[in-house]
Amino acid sequence: MARPFRETLKTKDFIVTAEVGPQKGTDTSKLIEHIDLLKDKVDALNATDNQGSVMRYPSVGACMLIKERGGEPILQVTCRDRNRLAIQADLLLAYSRGIDNVLCLTGDSIDVGDHPEAKPVFDLDSVQLIHLVHNLNSGRDMAGNELEGKTDFCIGTTGTPSADPIEPQLIKFKKKLKAGVSFVQTQAVYDLDQLKRFVEFARKIDDKVRILAGIVPVISARMAEYMNENVPGVFVPQWIIDELAKTPKKGRIKKGIEIAAGLIRQIKEEGICDGVHIMFIGREERIPEILEAAGLL
């Protein structure tokens, strides 16, 4: 059995989480493979919630599998697809099945996914969602009704250290911290000075919150340029693009993994924040290589 994440947050110096992306469809074999490969190598595994607004096997289903396989799941919940009733109901289901870590997110826009004609919900925003989980933890639903059996979720959220402009993002982030979270998993970050400033800002508001830097390996100069153009809040610096550009095609994934591992080492050695959250969706099987190169295995 994995150690409860809330314990890890309290005791471990350098925390490592990773993300698994559920498949589109009912065949869970690959997902299980990824879970089995990673569950004992990281402190907890996030399961994404219709990531990229693409309809998939649900995060709560993937979390149940993580639990069954003996891992420690973090349930990602976005505000995009469910109204307040549906979100609360899903949280009750998750908790009743032993899933007690939740990551509160806004969610990508419907437009970027594979059902762009769907009605976007956003009945709540991520700050309100954090408040909602606290409500359930206190034994009441959002309407103030008493629950037959309350929840006890360990609550986390996201942050964007590289947003431009950063000020409006920081105001929102401050509200999330004030709403009460135990951990933060940031958006992908490559510029560690930006990360430092972000952590400093957070510490002033809440000196106990554990901050895990988002690590996404970049595996080609094209991908880096694409991310800089199209993935909001992410900025891949020129030195990474140059490194990848001069690497022969065959060695690029390795190079990307190396760079990611280098960032992780630096974060750990300099104590910039409390850990890392590794996102390598579609290439989950290579996450152990990153861990190994970063000296985390």
Binding site: F122, P168, K172, K174, P232
Partner: protein
């Protein structure tokens, strides 16, 4: 004002299949201002209908009329004589206008020639932008007079999502400003960033019990 757009001609043409005498009715208010259903647009659509009919050898008598406000019963009543002579009405009013015409002349089929899109304002000549979702619980006083309910693509009430693009554009469209960046800038100008730091509760979507109905006391 209500902003609308003309439907594609083929869709309108398909609605009119089987009818021989049609009255095209414009509206002199919002849709005149947004170049969608005023006198000029009525004339253009009527001409295109006649032209297409004659090209296809189809018998179609197209009449034209404009009322000042199609959403008002008394003004729509003025059409009664003209309506008697046709077997279908093509309304170039907004959705409220079309429904008023349909309600006044219940025995006649009434078709919409426009797609009603939003409550908005002109940004510059020929460009209109959405400004209000008629949520029934206006919060513009917290947000520097910029509506987060409709100008934020996700309707977020407590600040921007992580999707804001470099330079303050919205995740869904680099042509559109992120509403929360605009709100930030305006409140900063006013020295009121404290308003942005407040926590706003989830919206009450029953502020207007849909369908909305207001009884005024005078």
């Amino acid at each position: 004002m209500v902003v609308a757009e003309r439907k594609p001609f083929d869709e309108i043409w398909a609605m009119l299949e089987g009818y021989e005498r049609v009255l095209v009715v414009g509206c002199g208010t919002c849709v005149t201002i947004c170049w969608a259903g005023g006198e000029k647009e009525v004339g253009l659509l009527a001409a295109q209908l006649r032209l297409t009919a004659s090209r296809e050898g189809r018998k179609l008598d197209v009449r034209e009329a404009v009322v000042e406000r199609q959403c008002e019963r008394e003004m729509v009543e003025e059409l009664r004589d003209a309506v008697e002579e046709v077997d279908a009405i093509l309304s170039m009013g907004c959705g409220a206008g079309v429904q008023m015409v349909a309600e006044v002349f219940e025995e006649k089929p009434v078709f919409p020639a426009l797609n009603t899109t939003f409550i908005g304002a002109p940004e510059r000549e020929g460009v209109w932008v959405e400004r209000c979702a008629a949520c029934g619980d206006c919060m513009l006083y917290w947000t520097g007079g910029i509506c987060p309910v409709i100008r934020c693509a996700k309707g977020l009430l407590n600040g921007p999502c992580g999707g804001t693009r470099r330079g303050g554009k919205c995740e869904i469209d680099p042509e559109k400003d992120c509403a929360w960046v605009l709100i930030y800038q305006r409140l900063k100008k006013q020295g009121r960033l404290d308003l942005m730091e407040r926590y706003y509760e989830p919206k009450n979507y029953r502020a207007v019990k849909r369908p909305g109905r207001i009884v005024a006391m005078r």
